[in-house]
Amino acid sequence: MTVLDLPSEAPVPVVAPGVTMRSLSEEVGEPNLRPKTPLWWWISFGFSLSLLLVLVVAVIWTLDKSVGAWGINIPVAWGLAIVDYVWWIAAASGATFLSSMFYLTRSPWRTATHRIADAVAIACSASAGIMPIMHLGRQGLFYWLFPYSNVMGVWPQVRSPLWWDFISLLCYIIAATFYFYVGLLPDLATMRDLARDRRQQLFYGVLALGWRGSSQDWAYFRFVYLIMAAVMAPMVVVVHGVVGLDFAGGLTPGWHSTQFPPYFFFGALLFGFALVIMLTILIRAAYGLDDILTEYHLNAMAKVVLVASLLLAYAYLWEGFGAIYGSDIAERTMFLNRISGLYASCYWAKIALNVIIPQLLWFPGFRRSQLLLFAISLGIAVGSWLDPYVVIVQSLHRNYMPSEWGNYYPTFWDWALFAGSIGLALTLFLLMLRLLPIVSIAQLRRIVKSAGAP
């Protein structure tokens, strides 16, 4: 054995010692294959489906009344729709970063959790995608953003960060779907072979495309998957960085800062991981996957959350330092208003939820307790929503001239769109949870094998 070999056993077992390759496949496949859907799934699905109906109504109402149905106006022309957009795309980018970056670092805890992260990325980017379209005002003309040859001879203005945002999100959603599906292919073949009736065999058999797991299949799979992970990691950095550029490109005080792309990406990292932690805790409880999604995974992800929280703290510190140290009176006024004005409660809440409370994760006890970890992650989810809310609404309500100061009051339809987007993401995620293996069986087998199980 050379020193370059990976340690065959982690100090804490990645999966519980009793797990074998057979029990792994059966345990993960069982919830998808059993004919009876559990009650908790129907309850959650009913809940999310009713939220989805709220979305449908809110979208129809917005299409009819246009954005006048919302509370936005001059000066606060960007409201909850954009806040929600930043929030959802943060979740998606952070989750995909978990799945891709930590594949490249060969982190063992990534293996069992990356399917959850990939599913989160797909579900959240669907919710993210509808927000900018709803915000357009003339939603029916959204396809003008595509650079396509048309009889009007009109082309999009590709110098605008808002167009960069559109093209980034579009490319990302398609790429994330490819990445999700390729990673799923060997597991679909396992499901096909474990299927109990003809219906399941057809469903998984067609989806698996006839994957056989031959030595050549695997050689191609490993080759291709490595490149895909290496491409997805920078891609999501660009996606959320460009969301930051939307703001950095604007002249509004509080936005016009070069630190926005990394600052937003740190936020995405924090929220994406927090969301995957929450879902991991719920799924291991609901499906009884304690021996596969072990405390090792939660512990490792909690440490990354801690790192992301510190990175975000750096961005927050720099935000304050730049405003106070700089000579721009508007920037300084804006920042002082941010920490003491009308939205000070939101500002301090996001500092507490994103930076201060996650510091508890330095203590192993907090990383070990699922309840506390879940509570901290939920706090981060709220804080991650308040973050763009403060950046967008608070910055816009105090622009350069006092004559253009004004407030923003979200209407019922603002909130309905937000609640509905949760319904859309949740519905998609629950469907994937029911139909697809939520833990990557094929990739986890190598870990089960190296743990010494037969």
């Binding site: 203005q157 590709v158 960069w164 006839g210 797991g213 550029l245």
Partner: protein, 183 residues
């Protein structure tokens, strides 16, 4: 070779080392139509079974890189053509070919095409989608995607001799040897 009543013979192993030993043995004895099916990628197995076409692994990165370069050129070109030639708009006196503004679209389009190229390389390389394959007729094949390692030698191989091969499989510790019916 006129009519094939069987697709081949499989040996089922319970660990990858035995499978690799058997595969090595078969290759050394001159068998060529050999393929292994495993629940996870077995290190070094592909080199044993398909040692010859190493050029493929040198070529494929170039293919994917070529796709990425083409995508970058096209992504930049379409933006340049749009802003500088077809629909020029003067924004604050900035040059019409304002290349820094075209980078984001170019990068994202390049990365998307790279991902798509990877997916198509996988599908072409593995000859997917192919919903039916004779190996699915093997009763033990279902376990090759769960916890067993299956070595299959196809009947079209010149030296195919079921009795002899059965001995080889069993000598290497195969827990089960079976014939695979053909189409």
């Amino acid at each position: 070779m006129s009519e094939l009543h069987e697709y081949g013979l499989i040996g089922v192993f319970d660990n990858p080392e035995a499978l690799k030993a058997a595969a090595r043995h078969l290759r050394r004895s001159g068998f060529r139509a050999v393929e292994a099916y495993s629940p996870y990628p077995v290190e070094g197995l592909d080199e044993i079974l398909h040692p010859a076409p190493e050029w493929r692994w040198r070529l494929l990165p170039l293919v994917i890189f070529g796709a990425a370069v083409l995508a970058a050129c096209w992504g930049y070109f379409i933006q340049w053509w749009d802003e500088a030639l077809n629909y020029p708009i003067n924004v604050g006196g900035r040059p019409l070919n304002s290349w820094p503004a075209f980078i984001v679209g170019t990068v994202q389009f390049t990365l998307l095409v790279t991902i798509a190229a990877c997916t198509f390389v996988l599908l072409l390389g593995c000859r997917l989608p192919r919903l039916y394959h004779p190996i699915f007729n093997a009763d033990a094949f279902g376990r090759a995607s769960v916890d067993r390692f299956v070595l299959c030698i196809e009947a079209r191989d010149q030296g195919f001799d079921p009795e002899y091969l059965r001995c080889i499989f069993e000598n290497h510790g195969a827990e089960h040897v079976a014939e695979v019916p053909g189409t």
